[in-house]
């Protein structure tokens, strides 16, 4: 090892901000374990994440996931250099389970504890790429899931993250769930819409692109809104049904998905152009959507922008990305968070470590 480079730290990460209980273990930028226990099926009958259902599931999943992660990584608790936990943003009752557990685990083992930002964690996931290519900064990051839709400018993973914009109403993933529901498709909506859209015409119906008009762009250049889109789809479907016509599900799904992908990438590429940053990183569960990945690839290629998408199991919420960010913080010499931080459902992205 050369002077000035810190040793790769062995860190366990705990993630409970939404409906996945994630425990990950990394050594520096090497992924050793990524155990995810999801309560998604329990939410299916409600058509969306029920915070109390998610929080109860975290309590039951936590210890088995901890055990499984240590086994998968082939390490013991005693060997860890630190523990990292998501302290926000997210569902407050869900976050508290992870925060309470992480603190107690830290005291029991005597390990330093890092409280980290979930959104920055999504960006941190990219350091774990198996191909060994290093994350290049600065980068614009577009994070899209059932819980968030955020556009960030990341100059430094551990010290300089700026929020460019975010959704002012629903998250993109929520819009997928709601549109799926009104088309009679099950939860979660993302993969269902993807399936239903096969063979559909994405140009069949021109659904509105939220916050894209000139007057909106002045105030909300990088912000997103999906509530109007969702209502427009609902109204269109209702009119078809009211007039006794069959709803062309494939066309509706394809057109809706096109609208979402278009809004997301138009704003993300505008951010790249405005900031002069020629890199775009995608993260969050909605990245699993085939059309969004495809459109991102096309538009980035056309604009000469380097596109990075971490592996899918590191895009959805997971503990490995939290561990990775914790390791980066520790290796950069940041002091641990102590034990007095709280779960903060609205933790700003500028607070990388609580």
């Amino acid at each position: 090892m050369t002077a000035g480079t810190a040793a790769e730290r062995l860190v366990l990460g705990i993630e409970t901000s939404c409906d996945e209980t994630g425990i990950g273990i990394v050594r520096g930028s090497t992924l050793l374990a990524n155990v995810i226990s999801s309560s998604m099926e329990e939410h299916a009958r409600y058509g969306g994440v029920v915070p109390e259902v998610a929080a109860r599931a975290h309590l039951e999943a936590l210890e088995p996931a901890l055990r499984a992660a240590l086994t998968e990584a082939g390490v013991t608790l005693e060997e860890l250099d630190a523990i990292a936990v998501t302290s926000g943003p997210g569902l407050s009752g869900a976050l508290m389970v992870g925060v309470g557990a992480a603190k107690a685990l830290a005291v029991a083992t005597g390990k330093p504890l890092y409280a980290v930002n979930h959104l920055v964690g999504h960006v941190g996931a990219d350091v774990l790429r198996a191909d060994g290519t290093e994350i290049e900064l600065p980068t614009v990051a577009l994070l899209v899931s059932g819980g968030h839709t955020s556009l960030l400018l990341v100059r430094d993973l551990v010290s300089d993250v700026e929020l460019l914009g975010e959704t002012i109403d629903d998250a993109a993933g929520e819009a997928f769930d709601k549109v799926a529901r009104l088309l009679g498709l099950p939860y979660p909506g993302g993969p269902e819409i993807d399936r239903a859209a096969v063979g559909g015409d994405p140009k069949a119906i021109r659904f509105p692109r939220g916050l894209s008009l000139r007057k909106d762009m002045e105030k909300h250049r990088y912000d997103f809104s999906f509530s109007g889109l969702k209502t427009a789809v609902a109204r269109w479907v209702e009119q078809k049904r009211d007039s006794g016509e069959e709803v062309p599900v494939a066309d509706v799904a394809a057109s809706f998905r096109e609208a979402v992908a278009d809004i997301l990438l138009t704003k993300a590429l505008a951010a790249c152009a405005d900031t002069g940053v020629k890199r775009l990183l995608l993260g969050g569960g909605v990245v699993a959507n085939a059309r969004i990945r495809q459109l991102a690839t096309e538009r980035c290629a056309a604009a000469g922008i380097e596109l990075r998408i971490p592996p899918l199991d590191l895009c959805t919420d997971n503990g490995a990305m939290i561990a990775a960010l914790g390791a980066q913080l520790m290796q950069a010499g940041h002091a641990p968070s102590g034990l007095d931080f709280g779960a903060d459902s609205t933790l700003p992205v500028t607070t990388i470590q609580a």
């Binding site: 508290m96 609902a234 034990l339």
Partner: protein, 205 residues
């Protein structure tokens, strides 16, 4: 020697010993700071007691009844601590800790929020001094309490604002000593998680 945690009301953390009694106890009454205070309170209770993690024989925890958000923090912390320390978890009904020591019939009542209360009835203590729960824990509107509890008039009502971690720990020691059953592993929420979930999609036009 046990670390004992209860977050069914406020947050209370203690270190107790069957022979030496209460070695340390800390209580925070604020019912919205569980996740914030739990770590420091555990560390401080251990420091004050002078007991090392390796000297503990287990972690006692109040399983409720309690309003869910806070209750879960203590249980999650107890489980994680026990996992980290390679010790067992000893689950206890939180109301039993309030009744611990009472010799007459009592009715334990705690706040369940949403204009409801949790209750448990006890006939007193047995020959080992352990509380004898005859009914509950249950969940009712305060006005319905007399109807819900048989012989309501005969009980001394105890409205508790907090549950002592030390009582949780000492009760757990007593249960262990006299080979009694601990509480189950399920948190006693006594409420369905989906009571406020909205129905299907509404029309927009």
């Amino acid at each position: 020697m046990l670390l004992a945690i209860d977050t069914s009301a406020g947050t209370s953390v203690a270190v107790v010993d069957r022979d030496l009694g209460v070695l340390a106890e800390l209580t925070e009454l604020d019912t919205r700071r569980h996740a914030e205070v739990i770590g420091s309170m555990i560390a401080e209770a251990l420091r004050l007691s002078g007991v090392a993690v390796t000297d503990l024989s287990g972690v006692a925890v109040g399983m409720g009844p309690g309003p869910f958000t806070g209750l879960r923090v203590g249980i999650a912390a107890a489980r994680a601590f026990a996992f980290g320390a390679h010790k067992p978890v000893v689950p206890v009904v939180s109301h039993d800790a309030i009744a611990f020591g009472a010799t007459e019939p009592i009715l334990v009542v705690t706040d369940a929020r949403r204009r409801e209360v949790y209750w448990s009835a006890y006939s007193g203590s047995d020959e080992q001094g352990l509380p004898v729960r005859t009914a509950g824990p249950g969940l009712v509107r305060p006005d319905d309490l007399p109807g819900a509890v048989a012989g309501y008039e005969g009980y001394r009502r105890v409205d508790a604002e907090s549950v002592s971690g030390a009582s949780i720990g000492l009760l757990a020691e007593g249960l262990y000593l006299h080979k009694r059953a601990f509480a189950g592993n399920d948190a006693l929420y006594l409420r369905s998680p989906d009571i406020y979930v909205s129905a299907g999609p509404k029309r927009v036009s």
